[in-house]
């Protein structure tokens, strides 16, 4: 799980805060409950102490201390309901001490001795030998004759503690449930709320310079995400405009360059045909003409790329056998390889049908093969293969030539990029061949990628959508001369 995702953070915060609040409320209720339970118990015991005190005051004048004790036992029978009562005179004489309760919860003899204080009424908690506690209410009374008695009533705090323990158990059981509910519910809610974000991200991922006309989905929810997707779409629009502007600029520029190039070429050509011209002049004019021709090649290349990128490639969209076309093209170019003593093998036995502009796709094979031959040393080997893989037609051109340095690999399809400028120019390259290949592939909804180990060779892989094989008897759809 991505701990930095918005969903995780929101849910974690949400559940954390909720659990924290729950713990806080639980603790508060525990404290309040505890004090109110103890308060109630103390109140009961104090009331009992007052009653016993009244009984002592009423009876002590007329009867003996023993008689009073019997009366208390008869009236309150503290041993039956686990209560403790002790009445002590100021001289230390015990007037009454309750018996051991029936369930032997405590032994009255174990309780600490009576404590005289200055206050008439007080309450305290005293520990029992077995670790439990007893709440002891104490009341001092004085007979009109001046005799003072200390009445102590007590009850074990078991019940209070049982209640509190129950509450604590309840809290401990409910807390995880609440936390789980918060996690689950929060996660669900946030997932639902953030679903458009995933969709926006996925769509944004698909948009590249090739399909800037596409837009992100806008959910008409009126929330922040709608605003976000609209803002992103505006950005894509501006990018699209910028791209179109640059494409149009390249197209316009290459278009405008043609007329001056035509004039230059025509004038230089007619001048170089001048019979009176010396060989040195003829050579200089030839050199100028070569450059004019290179300029022309660059202009053509740029124009072709800008047209392809603008989606105007589909002049003649036909279905044809890529394997057959590749084999035929390889054959046409065989002399180029023989010239450098390079072994070219073409593995394209099975028909692989694709749809597209055949002349353009042939240009892909021509450019890649020419490139491979150019950058393979004397006596090297170039391998072409065409096969279908899933729903893709795959064309691979591999060589064991000089290879491409890793730092140059990502830029190999850029316009005018050359790995070795001097070498490339010497061989007459304009630096547009691979850019054209890329644009042609993109215009056919395919792609091209390069991999290389410097010094060991390069591999170019073209993927195009596979077309269904023609149902009628396959005829030769190639128009080779």
């Amino acid at each position: 799980m991505n701990t930095r995702s918005l969903r995780f953070q929101l849910v974690a915060w949400y559940a954390g805060v909720l659990a924290g609040c729950f713990v806080l409320i639980g603790a508060a209720t525990y404290v309040v409950l505890q004090s109110s339970l103890i308060g109630a118990l103390r109140e009961t015991q104090m009331r009992r102490a007052r009653q016993v005190g009244q009984l002592v005051l009423d009876e002590i004048r007329t009867s003996s201390a023993a008689r009073v004790g019997e009366e208390i036992q008869a009236r309150y029978a503290p041993d039956i309901n686990d209560r403790f009562i002790r009445v002590t005179g100021s001289d230390g004489s015990s007037i009454y001490l309750s018996r051991e309760p029936r369930d032997q919860a405590f032994d009255p003899a174990d309780l600490p001795p009576p404590a005289w204080t200055s206050r008439t009424e007080s309450a305290r908690q005293v520990p029992l030998p077995d670790g439990r506690k007893m709440l002891l209410a104490t009341r001092q009374i004085q007979t009109p004759a001046g005799a003072r008695y200390l009445i102590e009533t007590g009850a074990p705090m078991d019940e209070v503690q049982a209640h509190l323990r129950q509450w604590l158990t309840f809290l401990l059981v409910v807390l995880p449930v609440v936390a789980a509910l918060a996690l689950g519910g929060g996660s669900f809610l946030i997932k639902r709320a953030l679903l458009p974000v995933d969709q926006i991200a996925a769509s944004a991922e698909r948009i590249s310079s090739q399909n800037l006309s596409e837009r992100l989905p806008v959910a008409r929810t009126g929330d922040e995400l709608e605003r976000l997707s609209i803002a992103l779409n505006h950005m894509v629009q501006r990018l699209d405009d910028a791209f179109q502007y640059s494409r149009r600029f390249v197209a316009d520029a290459s278009h405008e360059l043609r007329t001056p190039l035509t004039v230059l070429r025509g004038e230089l050509e007619s001048f170089s045909q001048e019979p009176a011209l010396g060989p040195e002049w003829r050579d200089r004019l030839g050199s100028a003409l070569e450059e004019v021709e290179r300029l022309g090649t660059i202009v053509e290349g740029l124009f072709a790329i800008s047209r392809l990128d603008a989606g105007e490639a589909a002049a003649e969209w036909v279905r044809f056998d890529l394997a057959r076309m590749t084999a035929a093209t390889t054959d046409q170019m065989s002399l180029l390889a023989e010239d450098k003593n390079i072994q070219v093998t073409c593995a394209a036995a099975q028909p692989v049908w694709v749809e597209g502009d055949q002349a353009r796709l042939k240009q892909v094979v021509v450019n890649l093969l020419d490139n491979a031959i150019k950058y393979t040393l004397q006596g090297g080997a170039v391998t072409l293969s065409v096969h279908s893989l899933d729903s893709k037609a795959v064309l691979e051109v591999a060589d064991n030539g000089v290879g491409i340095p890793p730092e140059a690999l990502p830029r190999i399809f850029d316009r005018f990029f050359r790995v070795d400028k001097a070498r490339s120019r010497e061989m007459g390259g304009a630096g547009l061949g691979l850019s054209i290949v890329k644009s042609i592939c993109a215009a056919h909804h395919g792609c091209v990628e390069a991999s290389s180990t410097a010094g060991q060779g390069s591999r170019f892989r073209v993927e195009l959508p596979l077309a269904s094989a023609p149902t009628d008897h396959p005829k030769n759809t190639n128009h080779e001369r």
Binding site: S270, S272, Q273, A288, E293, E300, D339, Q363, L432
Partner: protein, 226 residues
């Protein structure tokens, strides 16, 4: 032969007209659509060279009007546009041939001549340059009576050059004729084939027939190189 050149770029018009006049054609130049239409109405031409990007009336419009008037004069369209779709559209509109700027003048000339003769430039079944003999029917090549074995591509290249002796062919023209437009920009393939062709046709003999014209292209000529 009277040609009408409809081209608004004065400099292009100048060198094309000059080159064609040097080839002994009579050339009239019209710099815009209305002038072109007036001239066409006044005079009969053997061939029209038409630039498509014209001020006033567009080249496509002129082409349409020419064909509407049932005028079947050959029209060579000259333009900076080169999209296949447009090429097809202009052939349908009645253009006989199509040339993209920048072009080599030699190419223009070959196409003009082809259009005027309405057929292959040279129909002879046996072509001869110096002591080189090329039989189009059997596709056999002999020089000084000796048989020379050529591959199909080498033969096609040699035939193209030999059919127009003395004419200089640009690499682009050779590629379009012997290969196809997919090979455009791949000029080194022409150089390699010419080298192989020379090894077979020229190297064993004292007189060289295949000439390189630097910056322009190649030609086959029985005359020794200047």
């Amino acid at each position: 032969m009277r040609l009408l050149l409809i081209e608004d770029e004065k400099k292009v018009a100048d060198f094309v007209a000059r080159g064609l006049r040097a080839e002994r054609f009579a050339v009239d130049v019209a710099a815009d659509g209305p002038t072109a239409l007036d001239t066409l109405a006044a005079c009969a031409y053997d061939l029209i060279i038409l630039d498509l990007m014209l001020p006033g009336v567009s080249g496509s419009e002129i082409l349409k009007r020419i064909r509407r008037d049932r005028n079947d004069v050959p029209v060579l369209v000259l333009t900076a546009r080169d999209a296949m779709a447009e090429k097809v559209a202009h052939f349908e509109a009645g253009a006989d041939d199509y040339l993209t700027k920048p072009f080599a003048f030699a190419e223009l000339l070959v196409r003009v001549k082809a259009l005027l003769r309405r057929g292959p430039v040279n129909r002879a079944s046996v072509l001869r340059v110096g002591d080189l003999e090329l039989d189009r029917l059997s596709q056999q090549v002999r020089r000084a009576g000796k048989r020379i074995e050529l591959t199909a591509k080498e033969y096609a290249l040699l035939e193209y050059l030999v059919a127009n002796p003395g004419r200089v062919f640009s690499r682009t023209m050779i590629i379009e004729h012997v290969w196809d437009q997919s090979f455009e920009g791949l000029t080194n393939i022409v150089d390699v084939y010419v080298r192989h062709l020379r090894a077979k046709v020229d190297d064993p003999f004292p007189t060289k027939l295949i000439h390189t014209v630097r910056g322009v292209g190649y030609s086959v000529d029985g005359e020794p190189e200047a």
